[in-house]
Amino acid sequence: MLNNDVMTLNYTVSPEDFTRAGEASSDVKSKLKQLGVSPEVIRKVSIAMYEGEINMVIHANGGHITVDISAEEIIMELKDNGPGIKDINKAMEAGYSTAPDSIRALGFGAGMGLPNMKKYSDEMNIETELDVGTTVRMIVYM
């Protein structure tokens, strides 16, 4: 049964395909404009989600993103079955990155992924387990 007060969007992030990274956040962005969401919220969501999407491509072999949009908030859940994050505190430091050189050569892996996701979302929590995967949940309030 479709709940018409909430819009749920599902995306699969394909691994190691930089040309497609950003497709999900860009689709969410255009939908938020159709919903009449304020420009500031659109900006926060699209930047936070793009960073997350890129992280999934670089570190985790892709994954799944679910976005729930209601009149009060936007909840983004980014789930992967990647290697997990060894040291969350370190990963949250600006400039810390475990991205390989091949990725850095493409201009990514500046160590700003998680810090930016935190900066642009109103709430963020990370569940991670080594060799099992990571789930990042971000909320942006309207």
Binding site: S25, K31, Q34, L35, G36, P39, S46
Partner: protein, 492 residues
């Protein structure tokens, strides 16, 4: 004038109702309804792509003709720098400018002169506003219109300085009033444009309530008038030109950025490329650039749909013309004056009061976000509508065939949700309905044979089916026939 006024329109009798323009339109503004192209005003950005693609030449552009010169006591021509790039073997810009006088103008004011002042003012703006980096150029009205409806987060980055044609119009009128003593309304300021976007600008400007440009002529229309006049002008060209490399360079993409004397810039041209850059810019992917130059046409203004020459050939010609010119002939002076048109025959009369940073060329009426893509009146309504769009998209075949008159299945779904189309506009859905009905009729016939049903009942039911089938088929037919419902749409 309506803020969604447009200069592109349709010659209905030439429009075949094909899908070329709906597919090409970068903002999905065009639909084929009842066999003719119509446009949604709010989405159109006047880029002229539909004019370019229409092989039936059904798209026309509203512009003025040289008879408007008779309306005024004194006229000034404002040639866009792209005009200079249209002629073979042109060595001296003064030949074109002198030919414009022979055409009937009393004076000329080069848009490229004003462009040098805009460049100077932009350099100062960039230095004073690090917080606005990257600043996005606003010289192409189509780009500004696109940002206004689609990129709300970039509005704050727009360069709030009037485009060169507007600055030229302001200065030309001021100068003409001083020179002739005539009241402003007896003076005709007439821009010679490479594109429909700037025609629209003159009627419905951006950044200012009313444009100083009175009329707009098309390069392609006066081109043939100018050729013989240029032959004559070549014998003794008047010394009229007063712009340098920076001003003339504005005619091609990269020219505006070159005038900023920084290498921290990006210049993109062609509307699809522009959209990609804006998408990335919105996601803050380029954090270290000072300036973004964007032109809707490939090659920049020389690629405008009202020009004659191939844009890339035109760029070569501009470069050749520019080769021996000084860097810039128009300056903002610390004394609070504009030294404009330095080097021209009239130098000395062209000193105009100004702020040192060119502030008098700033926007007086800021551009605001127009959320035309919003579906419903509020969030809850919009969410329900967007859910319905998704539902419909899953139902449609996803071929984006355009047969319904919308460019994509998603666009049709949005039209339906907005109340501007119906599901059976999709010929695949319609065909499915027809199959279903004829299947039902066949089953009924078979059942009746087997069960020996009363023949009157049978005939009545069969009649009903045939009636429904005819209705569905007439839907198919009416989709291809013109009618004149237009509501908020207009023929283009």
């Amino acid at each position: 004038m309506d803020k969604f006024f447009h200069s592109v329109y349709l010659n209905e009798s030439l429009c075949k109702g094909c899908i070329n323009c709906i597919k090409r339109c970068p903002t999905e503004a065009i639909r084929v309804r009842k066999g003719k192209a119509v446009i949604t005003n709010q989405f159109c950005i006047d880029c002229g792509e539909c004019v370019r693609i229409c092989s039936h030449h059904a798209k026309l552009i509203r512009f003025d003709h040289t008879d408007v010169l008779k309306k005024y006591e004194y006229t000034v021509a404002l040639p866009a720098p792209s005009l200079y790039s249209q002629f073979n073997n042109l060595e001296d810009i003064n030949i074109v400018l002198t030919a414009l006088l022979y055409l009937g103008f009393d004076d000329v004011y080069e848009v490229s002169s004003a462009a040098e002042l805009v460049s100077a003012a932009t350099r100062k703006y960039l230095e004073a506003h690090h917080d606005k980096w990257p600043v996005v150029s606003t010289a192409c009205p189509s780009v500004v219109r696109l940002i206004r409806v689609r990129f709300p987060n970039l509005i704050d980055h727009l360069l709030p300085i009037l485009p060169p044609a507007e600055v030229a119009a302001m200065l030309a009128r001021e100068e003409a009033i001083k020179k002739t003593g005539l009241p402003g309304d007896k003076i005709g300021i007439i821009f010679i444009s490479p594109c429909p976007s700037k025609v629209t600008y003159s009627k419905s400007p951006l950044g200012v309530k009313q444009s100083q440009i009175d009329n707009v002529l098309a390069i392609k229309e006066i081109y043939t008038d100018l050729l013989p006049l240029m032959k004559k002008a070549k014998e003794s060209p008047k010394n009229l030109s007063a712009s340098g490399k920076i001003g003339i360079g504005w005619g091609g993409s990269g020219g505006e950025a070159a005038g900023l004397i920084t290498d921290s810039y990006l210049a993109a041209d062609g509307i699809e490329n522009v959209i990609r850059v804006l998408e990335d810019l919105e996601d803050e992917k380029f954090r270290n650039l000072k300036f973004i130059e964007l032109n809707a046409c490939s090659g920049g203004c020389v690629g405008g749909v009202l020009t004659v020459e191939n844009p890339y050939v035109a760029k070569v010609k501009l470069k050749k013309l520019n080769k021996y010119l000084p860097v810039s002939l128009n300056h903002l002076e610390p004394a609070g004056e504009v030294t404009a048109r330095y080097g021209s025959a009239r130098y000395g009369s062209a000193k105009i009061d100004s702020a040192e940073d060119g502030r008098q060329f700033y926007w007086s009426d800021p551009v605001k976000y127009e959320p035309v893509y919003q579906l419903g009146g509020n969030m809850v309504e919009s969410i329900a509508m967007l859910n319905r769009v998704e539902e419909l998209c899953n139902k449609f075949p996803g071929l984006d065939c355009g047969s319904c008159g919308a460019p994509t299945c998603k666009a049709l779904a949005e039209d339906i949700v907005r109340g501007n189309a119906v599901e059976s506009d999709c010929i695949h859905i319609l065909r499915h309905h027809i199959y279903e009905l004829s299947d039902d009729a066949m089953n009924l016939a078979n059942d009746s044979l087997a069960e020996d049903v009363n023949s009157d009942d049978y005939i009545n039911i069969l009649r009903r089916y045939i009636g429904q089938l005819s209705t569905e088929l007439s839907n198919l037919k009416s989709a291809q026939q013109p009618d004149d419902h237009a509501d908020e749409k207009r023929s283009i």
